[in-house]
């Protein structure tokens, strides 16, 4: 290919115009096409996934409509299906998990971003990333054999004695239930809160901290009243990310939640989550209505995580891409 050496800028070079055939079959175009096909393959797979979920849940959607989301019963014999117990269980366990994981994760992130030396900070973050890599079924294993007996014999009775007047802590302590599932989930999502919060905290420019210190603030005050608020949008993003992860967790939850589609105020009560019921009942749902009700649950889960992830990434992007960020109004 002859290149005339009068290229205007270093990144483009002019060449004689090629024939149409050459343009369509030149090496670059083929490469472009192949990589485009790869990218399009992903789009195709995703579209197929959404399509399958939509089509296979059609029977349940048409039969139950919106009442699916507020019906309490899940009765395969009578063919009466409602998503409320599972939504409730998913929300409860995720709420407990966030209540534990967010303070823990943000606190640790503050330590790593503000106090620790860079070396300590990066090695501890390394360890936290390893924690995120532990498979869910291992958490389930530890949950069933370690946490559940501990909850049943020690923690739940202790909670009942001290806080038993609250409806949250009433009822027999089986060991398994919303609280146990929430605790296991919390340990699983802490690394996500930690690593994202640490990043957004580090992204807050130094002059913010120095200005606060110059005005006489203690290190804590500078952190809590200046740095964290500047990063709070990103921290919210990390919370959404962790929440999305918690919603979809299947194995660890189904091993410790009790697998009972009941709605109860007490955290000690057994319950069910969307992911857990899918794992337990999907391989054996006889009858098209049963199957499509389960798939509708899967669709709900998919949409929930979709929205949450989208929001999370938006928030994180907004915070970390801010150059000299000022406090948001």
């Amino acid at each position: 290919m002859a290149t005339t050496p009068n290229a205007a800028t270093p990144t483009e070079f002019t060449a004689p115009p090629r024939s149409l055939l050459r343009r369509w079959t030149g090496a670059d175009e083929i490469a472009h096409l192949i990589t485009l096909i790869a990218g399009a393959a992903l789009l195709l797979i995703t579209a197929l996934l959404v399509y399958q979920l939509w089509i296979l849940s059609a029977e349940a959607r048409t039969k139950f409509g919106w009442s699916f989301f507020v019906t309490k019963t899940w009765d395969p014999v009578a063919g009466n299906f409602g998503a409320l117990p599972f939504i409730y269980g998913t929300v409860m366990t995720s709420a407990v998990a966030l209540l534990i994981a967010v303070p823990l994760g943000v606190g640790a992130a503050i330590f790593l971003a503000e106090l620790a030396t860079p070396k300590l900070s990066s090695s501890l973050t390394f360890v936290s990333d390893l924690l995120a890599a532990v498979p869910s079924v291992i958490y389930g294993l530890l949950g069933v054999f370690l946490l559940v007996p501990l909850m049943r014999t020690t923690i739940q009775p202790a909670l009942k004695k001290t806080l038993g007047f609250l409806p949250l802590f009433k009822g027999p302590s089986y060991g398994i239930g919303f609280l146990t599932a929430g605790i296991v989930l919390a340990i699983m999502i802490v690394p996500f809160v930690l690593s994202v919060s640490r990043e957004v905290l580090l992204a807050v420019p130094r002059d913010q901290r120095e200005a606060a210190l110059a005005l006489g603030a203690t290190k804590w005050e500078s952190t809590w009243k200046v740095v964290v608020p500047a990063a709070r949008i990103g921290i919210f993003g990390s919370v959404f990310l962790a929440l999305a992860r918690a919603l979809g967790e299947t194995m660890a939850v189904t091993m410790v939640i009790g697998n009972n589609p009941k709605i109860a105020a007490s955290l000690f009560s057994p319950g069910y989550s969307i992911a857990a019921v899918l794992a337990n009942e999907f391989p054996e749902a006889t009858g098209n209505l049963y199957l499509s009700a389960l798939i509708e649950l899967g669709l709900v889960l998919f949409l929930l995580t979709f929205v949450l992830n989208g929001l999370a990434r938006l928030l994180i992007l907004v915070t970390t891409s801010r150059g000299s960020g000022v406090l948001p109004t």
């Binding site: 395969p76 014999v77 009578a78 049943r152 009972n260 057994p270 054996e284 006889t286």
Partner: protein, 340 residues
């Protein structure tokens, strides 16, 4: 260059894995009930040892799962302790044949702190417990059947199946027969709307939960309680006697039904007449399609069935399952011819 090396390594790995399928092997996949899993797994293992080119891979996912996978045709045959109902049979593309294999019993296994004795359960007590009306171990309904046993005031933790289960079918079938409230409120089925309780997956899961939870009671197949050293109770039968599940009482339950067993072998033997019968016993069935496209598989299935109904039966008693009555075996051997 490195890419070429990596790719050729991958190609070799792929080839090895693909061609590791030995020729002449007949591989069958089956799924279903956890109720007979201990004996099925022993049978399939023994059969593989004597016929080394045959591998029958049985996955215990629950009777509901077995039926569904059979209907979806993702397995070659299924297993269930709740016979398929007419609606399910209609969904099958080829007629499905039920073949009883062994007799088992669903027993109430419990974990009551401080109680090692065998407890007696009346039908009222059992249905009250599972309806959620009887909530403490020292409830009069339980205590009156167990004079002399000191029952604690602990809460009863009910454990049931979280998956579609033939064992659930047997249990709810029995409760429906002895308690009209259960019949209307809950009904019988492989998967019901349980009023109370924790859910365990498979007989395995229920056994595990009962073992680990003080105050728990759950229904499992007899061998699970025996293998895991769990105490289990006697149940009062229709003649008023408290019977413990064992080979004699379970066989007695089947004996009466054996003479009148229908041609399709679908029959319930819960709560039968008789003095020494155990009231919550049941056949368990292999669900075999009547037409096979693969003749090698069909021949293996027929041969295995014949073996299981004759030689295989000698292994039942070691695992606390009762053998099939002779009349039933004879009838089944004739029915095997229906598999084409």
């Amino acid at each position: 260059m490195r890419i070429v090396k990596v790719l050729s390594l991958l190609a070799v790995l792929l080839a090895v894995a693909t061609f590791s399928a030995a020729t002449g092997q007949v591989l069958l996949n089956a799924a279903g009930a956890t109720f007979p899993y201990p004996i099925y797994s022993k049978w399939f293992d023994l059969y593989h040892t004597s016929h080394s080119n045959v591998q029958i891979n049985y996955q215990s996912i629950g009777s509901g799962g077995g039926i569904r996978q059979l209907l979806d045709k993702t397995v070659d045959f299924g297993a269930s302790d709740g016979p398929m109902n007419d609606e399910q049979l209609k969904q099958a593309s080829v007629p499905i044949l039920h073949f009883p294999t062994v007799l088992g019993a669903a027993i109430p296994a419990y974990n009551v702190p401080g109680v090692q004795a065998e407890l007696n359960f009346t039908p009222e007590a059992l249905s009250g417990i599972f309806l959620g009306k009887v909530t403490k171990w020292n409830d009069p309904l339980i205590a009156s059947a167990n004079p002399g046993v000191k029952l604690p005031g602990d809460d009863i933790v009910v454990v049931h199946r979280s998956d579609g289960s033939g064992t659930s079918y047997i249990w709810t079938d029995y409760l429906s027969k002895v308690n009209p409230e259960w019949q209307t409120k809950v009904g019988k089925g492989t998967s019901v709307n349980w009023p109370v309780g924790l859910g365990g997956k498979g007989n395995e899961g229920v056994s595990a939960l009962v073992q680990q939870t003080p105050g728990a009671i759950g229904y499992v197949e007899l061998i699970y309680a025996i293998q895991n050293h769990m105490p289990y109770g006697k149940v009062k039968n229709s003649s008023g006697a408290f019977i413990k599940a064992d080979l004699a009482s379970v066989s007695a339950a089947a004996a009466a039904a054996a003479k009148f067993i229908p041609d399709d072998f679908r029959v319930s033997i819960t709560n039968p007449e008789g003095k020494a019968v155990y009231p919550i016993a049941s056949f368990t069935w292999l669900l075999i399609p009547s037409k096979f496209t693969d003749t090698a598989k069909r021949d293996v299935v027929k041969d295995f069935l014949k073996w299981a109904l004759t030689d295989g039966q000698q292994y039942c008693e070691g695992l606390a399952y009762a053998k099939l009555p002779k009349e039933v075996v004879a009838k089944e051997m004739k029915a095997i011819a229906q598999i084409q």
